[in-house]
């Protein structure tokens, strides 16, 4: 099956998962009623639940998953390093720092702008540190360094939390969840992620050539620094807006591109849109499972579930590489 067909199929699967996920939640709504509610043809309460709770939540899940998947694919392609992912290279850590600061200073309406600002600040810092010789090695080192710094400052903020409740709010937020996603989040996160995805997809053809090494790619007319700028900006848009809405969600960006590379093939240009669709589908389904299995008490946090599934894969990958 060609990559194009895979893209279409994954797109359909993603769309279906979003539709199906509308049928699951704390209020018992039949699947038919939920679909009717989507088009405003159900009872008023069902219409409201679908439009202002379930659809935004599913769309945010798809948007965050798409951003993580595409970022991971682009970073792995650019660094030619199988372990590169937005989590490893500090994008997620910077976004989380911004959001945690907003929470710490009790201005939760600023979570989104703070997360995006800090992701961009981190991205700029990475670009500056990797400036002397743009390329894989510099970006990985700069990214890991900036990420470690952001994680340390996040720890410091938690350390300084005035009371246990404030601390627990920060900790829970970092675990990642979609339970507070609403329509206003959709209006901001979806367009930003969309622009980010376009930038990442545009880097695809250059990534194909970069597979031959940076010198060879440069001799073929590819600008390593422009490609790096495209990818860093794309990742910052996707991850900044994603983390702002959903918290830190681990490992999706690492293992979704790997699975798709294994199944579909190694073409970096196609892997980016494919990983976007794959990541979106994965998060929509995982969030649906979380809602399905929710009993009384605290529901599972999305970031925990994705990591619980992601870490065994990560270990398998490390074992296979060895």
């Amino acid at each position: 099956m060609s990559a194009r067909i895979w893209c279409i199929n994954l797109g359909l699967v993603c769309g279906f998962s979003i539709l199906i996920s509308l049928g699951f939640g704390s209020t018992n709504i039949g699947f038919g009623d939920a679909l009717a509610g989507l088009f405003g043809k159900s009872s008023e309460s069902i219409n409201t639940i679908i439009h202002s709770v379930r659809l935004p939540r599913a769309l945010i899940a798809a948007c965050v998953g798409a951003g993580l998947g595409a970022s991971g694919a682009a970073l792995q392609g650019f660094t030619r390093n199988p372990l590169a992912a937005p989590g490893l290279l500090g994008f997620s850590a910077c976004a989380a720092l911004g959001a945690v600061l907003a929470l710490y200073f009790n201005v939760s309406q600023l979570i989104m702008p703070a997360a995006i600002t800090f992701t961009f600040a981190g991205a700029i810092a990475m670009t500056v540190f990797a400036r002397r010789k743009p390329g894989a090695t510099s970006l990985v080192l700069a990214g890991i360094g900036i990420g470690a710094l952001a994680t340390a400052i996040t720890g410091l903020v938690m350390n300084l939390a005035p009371n246990p409740w404030a601390l627990s709010e920060l900790v829970y937020w970092l675990m990642g969840s979609l339970k507070n996603a609403d329509l206003s989040d959709v209006m901001v996160a979806v367009p930003l992620t969309f622009i980010g995805l376009i930038l990442l997809c545009l880097s695809g053809p250059a990534l194909r050539v970069l597979g031959l090494g940076e010198d060879t790619a440069h001799s073929l007319g590819i600008s390593v620094s422009k490609t790096q700028l495209l990818i860093v900006t794309g990742c910052a848009l996707c991850i900044g807006s994603g983390v702002a809405v959903a918290g830190a969600i681990g490992f999706v960006g690492l293992f979704v591109p790997h699975i798709l590379r294994f199944i579909v093939g190694p073409d970096e240009a196609w892997l980016i849109p494919l990983s976007a669709l794959g990541g979106a589908t994965f998060l929509v389904i995982i969030d649906m499972v979380i809602r399905l299995t929710a009993g009384p008490g605290t529901p599972l946090y999305l970031g925990i579930v994705t990591s619980l599934i992601g870490v065994p894969f990560f270990l398998w990958l490390a074992w296979r590489q060895a």
Partner: protein
Amino acid sequence: MITLSEISVQFDGKTVVQDVSATAKPGEFIALVGPNGSGKSSLLKAIAGLVPHTGSTNLPKDHRTRAKQLAYLAQTVTAPHRHLVRNIVTLGRTPHIGGLSTLGERDKNAVTMAMTQAGVTEFADRMFGTLSGGEQTRVHLARALSTQAPLLLADEPITALDPYYQLSVMQVLREAAQQGTTVIAALHDLSLAERFCDRIWVMNTGRLVANDTSSRALTAEILRDVFRITPDGQITV
């Protein structure tokens, strides 16, 4: 005609190539020889525009335009292991096609011709990682040829290869030159350089110390002063 005027390259304040001026005619196969660290790779990289340098060449200044005028074969050839040979060779057409556009008839013909020239047609549909080192070098040679650039720079293309592949790569480069391409290849094997190349450029500590036809460049003095060997294959102490 490729003209180099006073090319110098510095790394961290250390001069590795100093004031190299030379010309290379179309169809000329030039061997760039010299001891390790004499600046062969750096000179090739400077010509290809891969490292900052002073001095000038008559190649286009614009990065993308220059990419059509020269093909560069790096010292270590690499490619994602699961990529098909055909797709790797096709990447040589990158300078001629826009980022998102597709291959035209001319591009496809160039790829087919390059694969035939470099002798990789029989494994066009195999994955790069399944090939031997010699085969991988020839795949990259095909990739470089598919650009159809008037200048081909090859950085030690045969150093890691067995005698069969050394000869076969030299033959492919020789044929490319016969078809009008200027080929400049960094080499360590002086006898292959004399046998296959029209001209030999000898480098020593960053300078071009000899530039003559193959039969005349490697004098006893050059061998002694630059390579620390004698014409009958002994090392000078």
